[in-house]
C-alpha cells in the first residue's frame, strides 16, 4: 500500500517536473525562435559570469526573478480574493490534465509492473476534457476581478472562445475513440502499435487525418495562442484579461499558457501520433516487417519510449511556436465563425464517415 503510494508520488513528481521544465524551456524557445523568425537577436543582455547562453540565462533566470520581485498589487475596487485566485485557477487545469497522459509502456521492476502513467482512470479522455472546461474560470474570474473594461472585454471574448472550441475539440476526438474503442489514453497509445497490413503503424494521424487537423486547430484556440489570442490581444486590448496583473500573478498566467501548450502537445501526441510508441518497437525489442528482429533489454525499451514521447511533445510545442509567429491574429467574429460554422460541422461529418467506415470494415 505504502509502496504503491510511493510509486504514484514518484510518477507525479516526474510528470510535474517534466511539464514545468518544458514550459520554461518553451518560453526560451519562444523568445529566441521569434527573434530568429523576425530577423533580430532577441534577449541576450542578462548573463552569469559572462555566460549568456543564447538568451537562456535571460529567459530562465532573469525573467522569473524579475516577475517575482515586482510589486504585487490589486486594482482599486477590484476584488482582492478573486484577483489572487484567478491565476491559480488558470494554472491548475494545465498541470492536472497531465495525470492521465502516459509517458511510456510498463516498466517491469522485479515482480512489479509499473504502468508509466500517473492515474489510470477508466474515463481517461473525459477527465482531460473536464479539466479543460475548468480552464475557463481562470479567465472569467481574472477579467471580472480586475474592475477594468478592457479586462472584462478580453475575459468575455476569451471565455466564449474557449467554450466554443471545447465542443469542436471533443467532437473531433470522437472518431479516435470509436476506432480504438476505449477512453483510456494508455490503451489508445498501446493500440497504436498495431501494424496495418503488416508494416504501417496504426497511428491516429493515419486513421483520422481530418480529426488531427481539427483537433490541432481547436487545441491552439483553447490555449489562446495566436492566431486565436484575441483575449489577450496585445495590440488591441492593452493586454486583455491580464491587463491588471503584474509580478508573480502574471508569471502564473504566462507559465499557465505555456503549460497548456505542453498539455495540448501531449494530447495530440497520445491521440494521433502513438504517444510513446516507436514504430516497430515492441516490449522485447524491434520487430521489423522485413523479418529482422533486435532483442533489447526492457529498461532500454522504456528509455526509448520516454525519449520518443519527449521528442514528439517538443516537436509539437515547436510547431505551436512556429504557428504563432507566422500567422496574423483572427478577428473575434472570424474566430467564432471558424469554431461553430466550420470546425463543428467538419467534426460531425468526420464522425459520420468514421462510423460508416468502421461498420463497413468490420463486416
Amino acid at each position: 500500500m505504502l509502496v504503491e503510494l510511493g510509486i504514484i508520488a514518484v510518477k507525479s513528481f516526474i510528470v510535474l517536473f517534466m511539464v514545468l521544465n518544458l514550459a520554461g524551456v518553451m518560453g526560451w524557445v519562444e523568445r529566441k525562435g521569434s527573434a530568429l523568425i523576425q530577423d533580430r537577436i532577441g534577449a541576450n543582455r542578462a548573463s552569469v559570469l559572462g555566460f549568456a547562453g543564447l538568451g537562456l540565462v535571460n529567459t530562465l533566470l532573469a525573467d522569473p526573478i524579475k516577475f517575482l520581485t515586482k510589486e504585487d498589487f490589486v486594482p482599486p475596487h477590484g476584488d482582492k480574493f478573486l484577483h489572487t485566485l484567478a491565476p491559480c485557477l488558470a494554472f491548475f487545469p494545465a498541470l492536472v490534465t497531465f495525470a492521465v497522459i502516459p509517458f511510456g509502456d510498463v516498466l517491469v521492476v522485479g515482480s512489479r509492473e509499473i504502468n508509466l502513467q500517473v492515474a489510470n482512470l477508466n474515463i481517461g479522455i473525459l477527465y482531460v476534457f473536464a479539466m479543460a472546461s475548468l480552464g475557463v474560470y481562470g479567465i472569467v474570474i481574472g477579467a471580472w476581478a480586475s474592475n477594468n473594461k478592457f479586462s472584462l472585454l478580453g475575459g468575455i471574448r476569451g471565455s466564449a472562445q474557449m467554450i466554443s472550441y471545447e465542443v469542436a475539440m471533443g467532437l473531433s476526438v470522437m472518431g479516435i475513440l470509436m476506432i480504438y474503442g476505449t477512453l483510456e489514453p494508455q490503451e489508445i497509445a498501446r493500440a497504436q502499435g498495431h501494424l496495418l497490413w503488416g508494416w504501417l503503424p496504426a497511428w491516429g494521424i493515419v486513421l483520422q487525418p481530418v480529426a488531427f487537423l481539427l483537433f490541432l486547430t481547436a487545441a491552439v484556440a483553447e490555449s489562446k495562442r495566436v492566431p486565436f489570442d484575441l483575449p489577450e490581444g496585445e495590440s488591441e486590448l492593452v493586454a486583455g484579461f491580464h491587463t491588471e496583473y503584474s509580478g508573480g500573478k502574471f508569471l502564473m498566467f504566462f507559465a499557465g499558457e505555456f503549460a497548456e501548450m505542453v498539455t495540448a502537445a501531449g494530447l495530440i501526441t497520445t491521440l494521433f501520433f502513438g504517444g510513446w510508441q516507436v514504430p516497430f518497437l515492441f516490449r522485447d525489442g524491434f520487430h521489423f516487417p522485413w523479418g529482422s528482429d533486435f532483442m533489447i533489454p526492457q529498461l532500454v525499451v522504456v528509455a526509448l519510449q520516454i525519449i520518443a514521447f519527449l521528442t514528439k511533445i517538443i516537436f509539437f510545442c515547436w510547431l505551436f511556436i512556429l504557428i504563432r509567429w507566422t500567422l496574423p491574429r483572427f478577428r473575434y467574429d472570424q474566430v467564432m465563425r471558424l469554431g461553430w460554422k466550420m470546425l463543428l460541422p467538419a467534426a460531425l461529418a468526420n464522425l459520420i464517415v468514421t462510423a460508416i467506415a468502421i461498420a463497413v470494415f468490420a463486416a
Partner: protein, 168 residues
C-alpha cells in the same frame, strides 16, 4: 473512524459550507463561485460512490458549462452587491428549512434501513464505468435519450429567441 468516513465528513463539511455561502453571499459572483466549488465537491462524492462517468459529466456539464453561463450573465448584467433581505425573513425561512430537513431525514432513515447495501466485493468491476452507463442508457433508455436531445434543441431555440434584440 475509517479513512473513508473521515474523507466523507471532510467533503460533507465543505459541501454544506459552500452551499450556505451560495445563499448567504452578498456578491452574486461569490455565490456563483461557491456553487462551482460545491459542484466540484459533489463530483468527488460521486467518485466515492463508484460513479466516475457521472462525476466527469458533472464537472464537464455542470461546473464547466452551466456555471460558466451563469458567470457570463452575471458579468454582462453586473448587478453589484445585492440586498440580503430582512433578518425576520431569514429567521423564519431558516426555521422552516430546518424543519423540512428534519422531516426529510426522518423519512429517509427508515428507507435507507430497508435497503440492503451491496458490499464492494459484489459490485461488478465495470459498475459506473462509461461502458456500463452507455449500455444501460442505450438499451433501456433510448426514448428518454431522444426526448432529452429534443428538449435541448428546444432550449437552444428558446434561449436564442428570448435573448435576441428585437427591433422596436
Amino acid at each position: 473512524m475509517s479513512v473513508e468516513e473521515i474523507g466523507f465528513f471532510l467533503l460533507a463539511t465543505f459541501l454544506v459550507g459552500f452551499s450556505v455561502l451560495v445563499i448567504l453571499a452578498r456578491n452574486p459572483v461569490h455565490s456563483a463561485l461557491a456553487l462551482v466549488a460545491a459542484l466540484f465537491i459533489m463530483a468527488v462524492l460521486f467518485l466515492t460512490l463508484n460513479a466516475p462517468m457521472v462525476a466527469a459529466l458533472q464537472v464537464l456539464v455542470y461546473a464547466g458549462a452551466i456555471m460558466v453561463l451563469f458567470l457570463f450573465v452575471l458579468m454582462l448584467l453586473n448587478p453589484g452587491t445585492v440586498e440580503r433581505g430582512s433578518a425576520l425573513a431569514w429567521g423564519l425561512t431558516a426555521t422552516a428549512g430546518a424543519v423540512l430537513a428534519l422531516e426529510l431525514i426522518g423519512f429517509v432513515m427508515p428507507a435507507a434501513d430497508s435497503v440492503q447495501r451491496l458490499p464492494t466485493s459484489e459490485i461488478e468491476s465495470r459498475f459506473g464505468s462509461p461502458e456500463a452507463l452507455g449500455l444501460t442508457l442505450f438499451s433501456g433508455f433510448v426514448l428518454p435519450f431522444e426526448v432529452a436531445s429534443v428538449l435541448l434543441l428546444v432550449a437552444i431555440i428558446g434561449a436564442v429567441t428570448l435573448a435576441r434584440r428585437t427591433k422596436e
